[in-house]
Symmetry: C2
Subunit: 144 residues, 2 copies
DNA sequence: CAACGGGATTAGAACGATTCTAAACTATGA
DNA sequence: TCATAGTTTAGAATCGTTCTAATCCCGTTG
């Protein structure tokens, strides 16, 4: 039961299509290509630019605007989550579960820290009228 | 020993001038004005825009470029620190000590959480070749 | 106190990331 | 196959920020 490259590609396309349908998104050529790249491996962190470069390098024609649209749609559908670590670029994370990050600013690199690893204690109650949405921990690192 | 407004202003100017000198920065009219506003009260969180509006509303003429320059110079001098909570705007904090923040995204509002309040345990060692620079905790809140 | 020299300020252009517009295209269901 | 609403896209626009290069001014010197 050895699979050819073409067979694997077909399976990924099918999986991506199913995932999109399940999320209520039309499985267009562009979305299927992007979903295949994003979810082929686990725990990816991409920017619109990096994903656009990746899909372009794979010989697939998708506009940058569509990459932006798709990243936002995937995020709204719960397939991605946004990670805020840089004041001039948006990162998107294929790991939507509870976890934290190392961030190496000089390279724009994010590394996952599993959710149970870090414990945050003593978060005070927010001021009246406000409710906690989430608690983000970013461990900023540098080359040493 | 009641002080007139003019006397208070003169004292603030003197304090700001001293602070700038101590940081190795020439006390220009613009820097003194900005430092006076920033350090008149404690624990402020500003953006370049908000500070520019504030100084403009006070009737002082300072260009936006100078506000940007000054915020960066003050940060380098250790008078301010940058807070990264938004992927499209930079915030600067007059509290340079160890502390954390509530962030109300819908209003771009930051609220301090004193440094001893939150305890972060279990931060893993970074991958080889990397060293921890700082650990940031952001408690994202919403109206409720 | 006038001149000088280098840092500081500024208007306006440039930039990079992102969003918008509106026209062309396509997935889907009848 | 057709109609329709959703999708894609090139290019323009926007927004926060940085850059450029001309002008200005703080602090020192003579
Ligand atoms: Mn590209
Ligand atoms: Mn303004
Ligand atoms: Zn992650
Ligand atoms: Zn603060």
């Amino acid at each position: 039961m050895v699979k050819t490259l073409r067979e694997s590609a077909k399976e990924m396309t099918a999986a991506a299509t199913a995932r999109l349908r399940h999320a209520g998104l039309r499985p267009t050529r562009q979305r299927v290509e992007l979903a295949s790249l994003l979810f082929k491996t686990c725990d990816r962190h991409v920017t619109a630019e990096s994903l656009h470069d990746e899909v372009s390098d794979a010989g697939v024609k998708v506009s940058l605007a569509t990459v932006y649209n798709t990243l936002h749609q995937f995020t709204q559908a719960g397939l991605l989550r946004q990670v805020i670590v840089d004041s001039s670029r948006s990162y998107f994370d294929t790991n939507t579960g509870d976890h934290q990050h190392f961030f190496l600013e000089s390279e724009g690199m994010l590394i996952d820290i599993p959710g149970e690893t870090i414990a945050v204690a003593g978060v005070p109650a927010p001021p009246p009228g406000l409710a906690v949405d989430r608690v983000d921990v970013v461990v900023r690192v540098r080359r040493s």
